[in-house]
Each structure stands twice: as C-alpha cells, then as structure tokens.
C-alpha cells in the first residue's frame, strides 16, 4: 500500500518534467509544422549547463537555471532562423535538419564533459519531507514540480490572456489566414520556438540533480515526448499536459512493479494504438488552451 501511494506521488512529480518536454514539442510542431527531433538534446544541453556551472564551477543553482534557459533558447532561435525558416515549406527537410543538430549537440556535450561515466549533480536542496510517517518526498523534487507548474501556468496565461498568445494560436490554426490578418508569422515562429526551447532548457536544468547526465540522455526524453504528444493529441497543449500526467503515473507504476523497459515498451504500444484508433489523441487538434 505504501509502495502504491509512494509511486503515485513519484508519478505526479515526474509528470511535471514530461509536460515540460511535450509542451515545447507541441508548440514547435503546432506553429511551425516541424517535428523537432533535437528536442531531447535541448533538454540535455540544459542539464549539462547546470552540471558544468553548478557542479564544476560552483555557480549558484538558481542562476544556472536561468543561464541554462538562455543558452537553450539561443540554440532554439538559431535553429529557427538558420534551419527551419529556409525550409518552411519542406517539413521533412526541417526534421532532417533537426537530426543534424541532434548529432552536433551530442558531440558538443561529449567535448565539454568528456566521455566516460554519467555525470551527477549533488542536489542543492537537501532534506526530505516525511508525510504520514511513511511517504517520503525529497525537497529537490518538490522544488522542481513547483517550478514546472509555475512555468506551465505562465505559458497558459500567455497563450490565453495576451495578444501575442492569441496570435500564436492563430498561426497554429492557419498560417496563411493569420498572415493575411497582418500577423508576422516569422516573428510568431521565433516566439514559439523560443518558448519551446526555454521549457526544454528549464526541464533540463531541473532534472539535472535528479538523473544521470550523459550525451545520450536525449533519446529517452524524445521517446517520452513523442508518446505524450501523440497520446495528448498533436497540437493540443492541454492534451499534452493531461497525457503527461497520465503517462507519468503509468510509467512510474509499471517501472515500480515490473521494469523500466516494459514501461517504455507498453508506452510505445499505447502510442501506436492511439495513432490507430484516434489519431487526434485524447484532446482535439490545433494549439488551443
């Protein structure tokens, strides 16, 4: 029983990361029509930044989170300007370019961190909350779920309350029509990828003290992001967040009771099933609140 409650709580905390990964992927796909295969590597760069600055050079953790966001956002903006924009009418071309970026970022990480064993970042927030005598939640995890929630709420407010957010959703719905209404679609694309990359950078920075950091960590992240995006419905942000919670709970449960590999296999099968039965996912189509 304790194990069950504990894994539900762990699943909820995990869902914050999953949502951050998927939201960026959804934004970039929704607005620009590009599947960003390098998204996992953006998260990896965020984690490496924290490892390099905080664990190696002693920069305060909160500062390194900000720096990670800035670096990853800059990479995302460069990808949009130099790769995705010239390939706007060729979604496959954009996808292939992002695979090229994936390789380059992996090698960059290897050059900075060296090969060899995975890196660890000592958690800056020590201590554990103990609830109901048996439920243990490390403070570091509480911190990361709180920050991810705050980021998601901020994104939701931006998309639903600001003019820019409305414009972004309009572009996601119909690029041509919104361009006829005087919306600068290139600028909106830049904003979309900036937000997506910033979320990835934040996720990477937050996850750094909780996982093993290595140049290939992006692989599992992109698989998770794909599963969450597809199950939630391509282009639906609320769907992605809901799917992130469900999948995180499911993944944590199966990992606890069986194994992580089984969890990923069944996640992939669920995703294929969703693609067959209801390709629009559990929530509609276009980017909406």
């Amino acid at each position: 029983m304790d194990l069950l409650v504990q894994s539900i709580v762990n699943g909820f905390i995990q869902s914050g990361f999953f949502a951050l990964y998927a939201v960026g992927l959804v934004l970039i796909f929704g607005v620009m029509g590009v599947v960003n295969f390098a998204h996992g590597e953006l998260v990896m760069v965020g984690a490496y930044t924290v490892w390099f600055l905080h664990a190696q050079h002693g920069v305060p953790f909160l500062w390194t989170i900000l720096i990670a966001i800035v670096i990853v956002t800059a990479i995302g903006m460069a990808m949009e300007r130099f790769l995705f924009r010239p390939k706007r009418n060729d979604p496959l071309g954009g996808l292939i370019c992002s695979i090229g970026v994936l390789f380059i970022l992996q090698i960059a990480a290897t050059l900075i961190g060296g090969d060899g064993p995975s890196k660890q970042v000592p958690p800056p927030y020590q201590g554990t909350f103990v609830l109901f005598e048996s439920l243990r939640i490390p403070v570091q995890r509480v911190f990361s779920i709180a920050v991810s929630l705050a980021a998601l709420v901020a994104l939701w407010l931006f998309l639903t309350r600001s003019k820019m957010g409305w414009a972004l959703r309009a572009v996601a719905q119909d690029r041509e029509a919104s361009s006829l209404q005087g919306i600068n679609t290139n600028r909106i694309s830049m904003i979309a990828i900036s937000i997506g990359a910033a979320m990835a950078g934040l996720a990477g920075a937050l996850t750094a003290p909780l996982t093993n950091i290595n140049p290939h960590m992006g692989h599992n992240i992109i698989i998770t992001a794909f599963i969450v995006t597809i199950v939630g419905g391509v282009g639906s942000l609320s769907g992605a967040v809901l799917a992130a919670v469900l999948y995180a709970l499911f993944h944590t449960m199966v990992t606890t009771y069986f194994s992580a590999t089984i969890a990923t296999i069944s996640g992939l099968l669920i995703m294929v099933l969703v693609l067959i039965i209801k390709p629009t996912g559990i929530m509609g189509r276009s980017v909406s609140d």
Partner: protein, 324 residues
Amino acid sequence: MPKKYTNCAGLAGLLAALVIVPHFLKYHHQDFLIFLTINVLVVSSYRLVTLTGEWSLIHAVMMGVGAYASTLLTKSAGLSFWISLPLAGCVAGAVAAILCFPLFRMTQFYFLIGSFAAGEAIRLCWIHFIQPFGGTGGISGIPFPELGNIDFLEPVPYFYLVLVIVTLCLVLLYRIEKSRIGLTLRAVHWKAPLAESVGVDTWKYRSLAFIIGSAFVGIAGSLKVHYLGTVTPNQYGIGFMVFILIWVIVGGYATFYGAIIGVVVLSILDESFRGFEELRPAIYGLILIASILFLPSGLESVPERIRGWVSNRAAARNGPGIQG
C-alpha cells in the same frame, strides 16, 4: 539505344573492378568494402519503401529482425547459412506484413512517428527478453557460412559472396521499380486520390512496397551478422536509421542510383575521418544540414547543376540575351 549499351558496359566495368579491387586492399579496407556493399542493399531497399512517399523510421529495425532471425536459425535451430539467408528475408517480410495493419492506417507525420514507435518497441523487446535474444549484450559466436573448401572467415571470399547476393537483390529491386508495380507506387506517391479513382488499392501497394523493402533489408541483416559474428540491439537503433536517412537524402531519392551514390560517397568520406573518431557524428550532422540547405535534390543532381551552370556561363558570355 546506344546509351543503354554504354550504361551496361559501365556496369560491367564496375563489377569487374569490384572483383579485382579487394586483392589490392589492406585488411580493414576489405572489411569496409563488405559493409559498404551491404549498406548499398540497405539504402536501395529503403528507397523502394520511400517510393510511395512514406518515410519510415523502422528500416534499421527490420534489418535487425533479419539479423536476429538468421542468428537464431543458424545458432539455435542449427540450420545452414544458405537456408537461413532467404528465411531471414522472409521473417523480416512477415513481420513487416503484420505491422502493415497498424502502420498503414497512418500517413505522413503519423506514419513516421508510428513506425519509429513500433521499431523502438521491437528493439526494446530484444533488450528485455534475454531468452532468446540475449539482452543488451546480444548474441555472439554466430557461425560463418560453409561451402566446400572456401574459408568465409577471410574477407575476400566473403566479399564475393556479399557482392553476388547484393547484385542479385539490386537487379530484382531495379526490375521491381521499373515494372508496373513500381510505376503504380509512384502514382500512389504523387497522386494518391487519382490512383484510387482508377481502382488502385493504395493501402495494398504501400504495404507491398513496405514488405518487399523489409524482406530485402532482412537479407542485408543476415549478410551482416554472419560476417560480424555478433548481433546486438544497439546496432539497429535509431542511430543507424539516421545514417540510412542521411545516405538517401544526401544522395538524392529521385533516381535508383542516387541513394547508392550517397552511401558510397559518404562512407568513403567517413573512412577518411578515421583520425577524428569522436567528431564523426558532428561532421555527419553538418554534412546533413548543408546538403538539405544547399543541395536539396542530393548528389545525383550535381551533374545536372554543373551542366546548367556551364550553359549559363556560356549564355552570359554571349552577351545579355533575353532572360526568361
């Protein structure tokens, strides 16, 4: 007609050169030549799948299916290589046939992601089910082919074996592409609704291309493991799939030989980067991005471009004429 004869003579010359060349190479270059020849079959079979306009991300895993099938058939079931080689193709084709039902209910982006998911699920099964697939470490000690007194442990005889089988497969693939089926596949790509309106079952033809392509890459997988002697799940992961994509895209996919040019040119380039082992993927990434941005129709379009460039120069020299 004469062009056809020059092409045939060119191909015969190339084959003759390939028969002689390995004797003048060092050991590891002979190895390289074997894997290059196998990869030529991999990209050519992938091309058949892409003829219908669907880019799958499962081709590398299908090669792995052939590799594992051949491994288990020879090592565990004790069959001879000569039987397991075609059977590996059949098994890969059969797995592809089963996957058709879920996968071809999707198209475009959904198919891409769906095929990636299905492939990853198969690969994770190899990792998870240690009996019979051997887990992450895979299976080693796979027997070499046996035929009379020929020693297939040596690279040169094995290269001849690979060359014969790959040439046969390429001829078959070429015939399929030029046949009525190949033409219909193109129709399915460019004008699917029109093709359907004249009674073409697009689902059937997409599946057919996928099954045939997978069967041939299964054979390639079998050829690879019986030379390497080991098979692991990571050899056939998304990493290798990306290389297949790069070869096809950099080479160009409008013609049959485009993908082959891609794999040959990039592999030779890759060989020459041996000095900077750890930078290789990044160099590949840069080549990929550069070719997408600056050479979107691939290496196969280079002669055409040079011709266009030369004639433009000539036009410019003849003074400002009427520009279109």
